[in-house]
Symmetry: C2
Subunit: 342 residues, 2 copies
DNA sequence: TTGAAAGCGCTAACAG
DNA sequence: CTGTTAGCGCTTTCAA
């Protein structure tokens, strides 16, 4: 394997010159650059990253942290593979590589992140979840390690860069869409009362309802593993007879529709549903779901680019919240009640 | 950050001794080891991988190659996140890290793999798919780079280590299970005629049918995007009236059941289904699917361990096919016809 | 605009 | 059993 020395020799220059050409240093004459580059291709030269790392302290590698897999279903969300793909792709464009951290618990993850950093394997991290009590955030912050979080800002973290959709706006848009289609009695259903995503979407739902002078309901929990909760849910639905539901995700919606059909409620004939994520679950079975596409590609691209800026900025990086737009995909799960009354 | 020199100084030994302690070299006295280790923890010493890499040529990092995402649905299979998790976990145990290669096409992937290797970022690769015409296989083979493939052996690759389930046996077992439950008229349905997995499972189906003196059918294609093919499929089913289907995957089964229900065929009442993979799709909607659990954890663990052996073996590594067992998970999609006739 | 030279932190013969 | 020594391939001052 050719080294920088071989290239230097062939081009008749000093190794340090070759190194400068590699970085496209502006103080090297075009003539020399051409000469050196020619020698590089002739020799099929590829820089040895280990040597670069050692000499420069930079790795050109970034760590991707997946959520703890305590909830087994969680990683089945196609979201993670999708964003892994786009981030890897984006990284390749900038000549970066990606390393992975996964683990059962936050402590597992912290251990991996710590190690990756101490061994100097990475220049920074992208975190693919957001948790109020995340020890990893704390660690990274304390050690001044560059990172961004893909997810909803939790707590009072003005110092952290989040890449996120406007979940509140999405919630409101959901309500408005349903209202446009003639729905007034709308529930908000989730399988998770606590997450920031759920509460933001719920807040959006509440705002939307208020603005339209409609009565809103507290979040309704859908927990298929808890028969009692399921009963409560169905009782609430049978009593209040909502004509539409806003459901926290398309994966949850699939399960919920099962339940509804068991109670002889047909979507969208008897009850409409609008949901979020637009993953494979949205077009798995009919009725295909009306969902919000959260633009995973955009999230991935933005998170990588922003992290790169932070890594490469010499000054104290300014933190900003990056809001990625979303798109409503109208499909079959929302019935238009207006057209009937026309 | 403490270096090996600091540790050496504090312990009153030579840096090379510290290095040996790091490797747990047997020719260092226990006393010295203790002394050195004490110094390490006191200083919070963590080895710098870049330096280790440069000096030893070993990276302690392995490349994980995902299939090209030409088929968008493919990466939605929970399989990939699951195996990514287990491999990462296994790697951590051995103090290895994982880097990712993804891409749209095989050429994309090849480019990444080449780069990872030439930059000396990895010691070897685990490939998560298997394709007859894979240029990556060729490249790795030619350059004597350690790798294993998780998937079905394709072509005449006696030189490659594959980690795999016995798909043929699974196909046969599927038939036998159905026959046990009183089914004789059985079809084999797939969305992919060409893959090794499909043809192995199909061969198993054929063998199983032959052994039981039952008439087998050619593979039936289920391609939801092709109305004509769908028609053919349904015509075949309505004419031959199979009482059971062996379907290539649980994801495909979900879609197929939609189609069947559209034609008023209920699973399992009118037609039984046995399928493969036991992913989230198997227990998404009722009837929950009777499937084969392919033991992803085991696949992941075995692939990593085997790769490690290859990397660390000094001699020419012997290639072996590793067969990971599977388990049948009986659920609701197969009807027992025997009990009715009793 | 380029060259010389001193490391980055660790490993691995070789000596003893 | 442990120390000595010479790099691994590249970056980066400092000079010229």
């Amino acid at each position: 394997m050719a080294t920088i020395k071989d290239v230097a020799e062939r081009a008749g220059v000093n190794p340090s010159t070759v190194s400068r050409v590699l970085k496209d240093n502006r103080s090297i004459s075009q003539k020399t650059k051409d000469k050196v580059r020619k020698a590089m291709t002739e020799l099929g030269y590829v820089p040895n990253v280990a040597a670069q790392m050692l000499a420069s302290g930079l790795t050109h590698n970034i760590g991707l942290v997946f959520p703890p897999l305590a909830t087994p279903d969680r990683l089945s969300e196609p979201f993670f593979m999708r964003i892994l793909s786009t981030i890897t792709h984006e990284a390749k464009l900038k000549d970066f590589t990606i390393s992975i951290a996964t683990g059962k618990s936050l402590d597992d993850l912290l251990e991996q992140v710590t190690l990756m950093h101490q061994q100097k394997r990475v220049d920074g991290f992208i975190i693919l979840y957001s948790d109020q009590e995340d020890p990893i955030k704390t660690y990274l912050l304390q050690n001044n390690i560059p990172f961004v979080i893909v997810g909803a800002p939790e707590g009072n973290d003005e110092q952290i860069t989040y890449i996120n959709n406007d979940n509140q706006l999405m919630g409101r848009t959901a309500v408005e869409h349903l209202h446009d289609k003639g729905h007034d009695n709308i529930f908000f259903v989730t399988d998770d009362l606590k997450s920031e995503v759920a509460s933001e979407r719920f807040m959006g739902y509440v705002k939307g309802m208020l603005r339209l002078d409609l009565a809103y309901r507290p979040m309704v929990l859908f927990d298929p593993s808890d028969a009692e909760k399921v009963d409560e849910l169905m009782t609430a639905i049978e009593e209040a007879k909502p004509s539409a539901l806003v459901v926290i995700s398309d994966r949850v919606t699939i399960r919920l529709m099962q339940l509804l059909s068991y109670y002889q409620l047909k979507v969208p004939d008897d009850i409409s549903i609008i949901t979020f994520n637009d993953s494979i679950f949205s077009t798995l079975i009919h009725p295909y779901l009306t969902t919000f596409d959260v633009h995973i590609d955009h999230l991935g691209e933005a998170s990588f680019k922003r992290l790169l800026e932070i890594i490469q900025s010499t000054t104290e990086p300014k933190c900003e919240q990056i809001i990625v737009p979303f798109t409503l995909k109208e499909r079959e799960s929302v019935r238009n009640r207006r057209s009937l009354s026309q």
